[in-house]
């Protein structure tokens, strides 16, 4: 498959940024200059053709722009305290700084929202307008968020973290990529289609990390999790954009190629030993994707995985998912008992009610199921989720006749 100009630009973006940031020792300004070079290339290349050395062309354009920026008085003032601690080595254009830029954009001192925005622009090569559009905020707001994020990175060294820091910092990177994926995936229901590109972008960036750290099992685990989750996307929505839960999906619509790749990745990762949370989540996704019909799902194995994940993360949402697995293996009463231990840790969370409703329905207790479906619908902030929950209640409960107005 031939690479489009846009793909090529996005692939080059972090590498060009690395060269320019090193040469000038000013990441924030270099990022602006590279963004402008990318925009210029997007205008010229489709008309004039792609140059023989696209990366060199971009570096040259960015350096020219950078020189203009550095000359301006404001930039000179800013540069005085923005020089990286790292001495600038020679700018070999064949050097690949993708990981360096990614680690810089996902530094723990940035809020997730800032890290996501900066990563999409500096590593993903997206424009501010595209990012603003994906997150449904004005472009000026997103531009300001990116500027602020770059200001926070002043003095951060332009180099990969050392061995003692590497694992923790990689966790931050993977978390940001996971959030980007999730943002796109969760909004794929209900027709917010332009946001689903975020999932594709997250997969592309995670592939890039995996290509550079092929033996890291958690990177492979995260990539597998994304592929195995994304494989179900075609079956996740009904004809009117409504949410179709996993158990009711038409499994023939799942993307087999993605499942095969995801399963291969997770199998390879698990053989390397050190089990992490993304590998466990990917394993659970793989077990689901492996079942030809919902009733073929290997729930005992999923239950075991959730047990490990719960011990590893202490995340109450994981415990809630384990409650579902407990119910599938040991019956709804056992599952409900697990949920009863979570009220303090997930106070008022709509999913407590949603899962309770589901388990009461399994147990045949219709009035309780209806009450909890309605309570969950009242608490969710998700439009498709609310629609699904109201529909579940309506399916179980007879409608209340209207008496034709009066007091509400």
């Amino acid at each position: 498959m031939s690479e489009t100009v846009e793909d090529l630009l996005r692939r080059c973006a972090p590498q060009v940024l690395g060269v320019v940031a090193r040469r000038f020792g000013d990441f924030a300004l270099a990022e602006d200059a590279v963004q402008e070079a990318l925009l210029a290339a997007a205008r010229h290349w489709p008309v004039d053709g792609v140059p023989d050395n696209p990366r060199g062309w971009l570096v040259q354009a960015a350096v020219r722009r950078m020189t203009d920026l550095v000359r301006s008085e404001a930039a000179r003032r800013r540069r005085e305290d923005e020089v990286f601690r790292e001495p600038a080595p020679g700018d070999a254009v064949d050097r690949d700084d993708t990981l360096v830029v990614l680690f810089l954009c996902c530094r723990p001192e940035l809020t997730p929202a800032s890290a996501i925005a900066l990563t999409l622009r500096a590593v993903g090569g997206l424009t501010t307008a595209e990012i603003a559009n994906a997150f449904l905020v004005p472009e000026a707001t997103m531009s300001q968020r990116i500027t602020r994020a770059k200001q926070k990175l002043r003095g951060a060294s332009f180099a990969l973290p050392g061995p003692d820091e590497f694992a923790a910092r990689l966790r931050s990177v993977l978390h940001v990529l996971y959030l980007i994926f999730n943002e796109g995936y969760t909004s794929s229901v209900g027709g917010a289609l332009h946001r689903t590109e975020l999932s594709g972008e997250a997969i592309r960036l995670t592939r890039a990390v995996h290509a550079r750290l092929p033996s890291d099992p958690e990177v492979a685990g995260l990539l597998a999790l994304m592929l195995l989750t994304d494989a179900r996307r075609p079956a996740r929505t009904g004809p009117d954009g409504e949410l179709v839960p996993l158990a009711e999906q038409d499994r023939s619509r799942w993307d087999r190629a993605l499942i095969v790749e995801g399963v291969g990745l997770i199998m390879g990762a698990l053989e390397r030993g050190a089990i992490g949370e993304y590998q466990l989540q990917a394993s659970i996704a793989a077990i689901h994707d492996d079942a030809a019909r919902a009733e073929d799902t290997d729930w005992p194995q999923i239950l075991g995985m959730y047990g490990l994940l719960e011990r590893m993360t202490g995340n109450p949402v994981v415990s809630l998912n384990r409650a579902v697995a407990v119910a599938m293996v040991h019956g709804p009463a056992e599952g409900l008992a697990v949920i009863d231990t979570l009220d303090d840790r997930l106070p008022g969370h709509y999913r407590l009610d949603a899962v309770r409703a589901h388990l009461h329905e399994m147990a045949g207790d219709v009035p309780r199921a209806v009450a909890h479906y309605r309570a969950a619908a009242a608490r969710t902030t998700s439009v498709p989720e609310q629609r699904y929950l109201i529909d579940k209640a309506a399916r179980l409960a007879p409608p209340v006749p209207s008496t034709g107005g009066g007091a509400p």
Binding site: P112, A113, S114, A117, F135, L136, V137, P138, A140, T141, M142, S143, Q144, R145, I146, T147, R148, L179, N182, E183, T186, S187, V189, G190, A192, R195, Q281, N315, V317, V318, N321, R351, T380, T381, S382, V383, P384, E385, Q386
Partner: protein
Amino acid sequence: MAKFLLLMNYGPAANCDVPMDQWAREDIAAHIRFQQDLGKELAENGELVDAQGLAGPELAKTVTFTGSGTPVITDGPFPESKELLAGYWLVDATLERALEIAAQASAAPGPNGVPIGQPIEVRELMSAPASTDL
């Protein structure tokens, strides 16, 4: 990321029961400056989606479909309304941060620069499921 609507009503506040059109000129100016500065600060933080004030209830109309073909249009807000929306901020932020911004907005200055303590209602916008679920 979630979005929150911060709603402010006309009407008595915790520390002030005098309507703004009866304040001293410099107090009115300080109050308006405060609101503008807050909007600017939110924009500079990359948190602001929108902020607007609403025209007064004197200009409100209420429209009701009655089933007979012609809707009934009356002057004024909902007849039962005790609270009237004066304006809103729409922010893209965490809940924690939205509550912080609301507290700031509630402390807008009134007569003699005393924070008036106008209650601010915080409402989350419906969106996709929270991305922090797992």
